[in-house]
Symmetry: C2
Subunit: 159 residues, 2 copies
DNA sequence: GAAATCAGGACCGTTGCGGTCCCCTTATCC
DNA sequence: GGATAAGGGGACCGCAACGGTCCTGATTTC
């Protein structure tokens, strides 16, 4: 299905959530606000932090914050952080060389396809995915609602 | 990794192979020519036939042939035939409705991403992927080598 | 010093995919 | 008309990846 992983979807939700409300937010708080299970949120945030998409601060009053604003984060970065580099097949861009190097009739043939997809994903930012006319109007208020404000058990990734 | 399935890759190889040489080719013949295991080739061809991308002819002297020329088959069709419709997440285009219908903050937000990818994949045909100046030189000879002629266990999809 | 919070793994169950095999139907050829 | 060649449509199984959870340790604030 050319489907991306659930974690990637969660990552987008979490990042968008980080883009609103207070600058620094804890993972339990984000979990409560988004409806994503807390351990999963923590896992996603750790990955995003390792990728440099969010910055973390440990200790009491710690939490996560965005490094770049939403409109400066193409979803390609999210996908790459969670699912790894975008590569439809294994042997693109001189990656792990297939055993049939010279014989392989498809040698390098997938590259333009990959580039087309990368270009498509690089042109869409998280700001484009954050609902423009909704809930962005009251960022601080949404944060003030605190835990359990938005019960979104399965999100749209369900099934 | 936003990776497509191996079968899709095999399908491209098989389709390109069908685009050369004789009009009607049997699955064992294609398997021998491409190095893909025969049962797998048969499986791919059955799926492609069900999708209407190739036409089959049963009985002695039967086989498969292309319905459209390579330059009239966008790879999006291949991917859709093998991996199913292109849908990064489950709830696009009004598919299986997620439980958080109205609340879901990402409601419909993935749609433009899907469309961008679809557009990118629709613009590339199998003819673009068929290597223009390589290995096309000796198609029949390769077939004559018979099974095990091309030990390409993993192709470039490996890993 | 105590509490809060992130860091980094380890750990399993489930799912889907890759790959193979079987039997049946259909069409051609002798 | 029988033998043979070929596709049709499944069933089947092993494996790897993913989703999801939990635990222990390190770090910072109060």
């Amino acid at each position: 299905m050319l489907r991306l992983s659930k974690l990637t979807d969660y990552a987008v939700v979490v990042m968008v959530r980080l883009g609103r409300g207070e600058a620094v937010q804890t993972s339990p708080c984000i979990a409560a606000a988004t409806g994503v299970p807390e351990p999963t949120v923590a896992k996603v945030l750790k990955i995003l932090a390792a990728a440099g998409l969010v910055a973390s601060h440990r200790g009491a009053r710690g939490g996560y914050r965005l490094v770049r604003p939403l409109d400066a984060v193409p979803i390609a970065d999210i996908i790459a952080a969670i699912d790894g580099p975008i590569a439809l097949t294994a042997c693109v861009d001189g990656g792990t060389s297939c055993e049939a190097q010279g014989l392989c009739p498809m040698r390098g043939r997938w590259d333009p396809v990959n580039r087309a997809i990368e270009a498509a994903l690089a042109g869409i930012t998280l700001a484009d995915m954050a609902d423009p006319g909704l809930s962005f109007a009251a960022p601080v208020e949404a944060a003030a609602l605190g835990p359990l404000a938005l019960p979104l058990p399965a999100l749209h990734v369900a099934e």
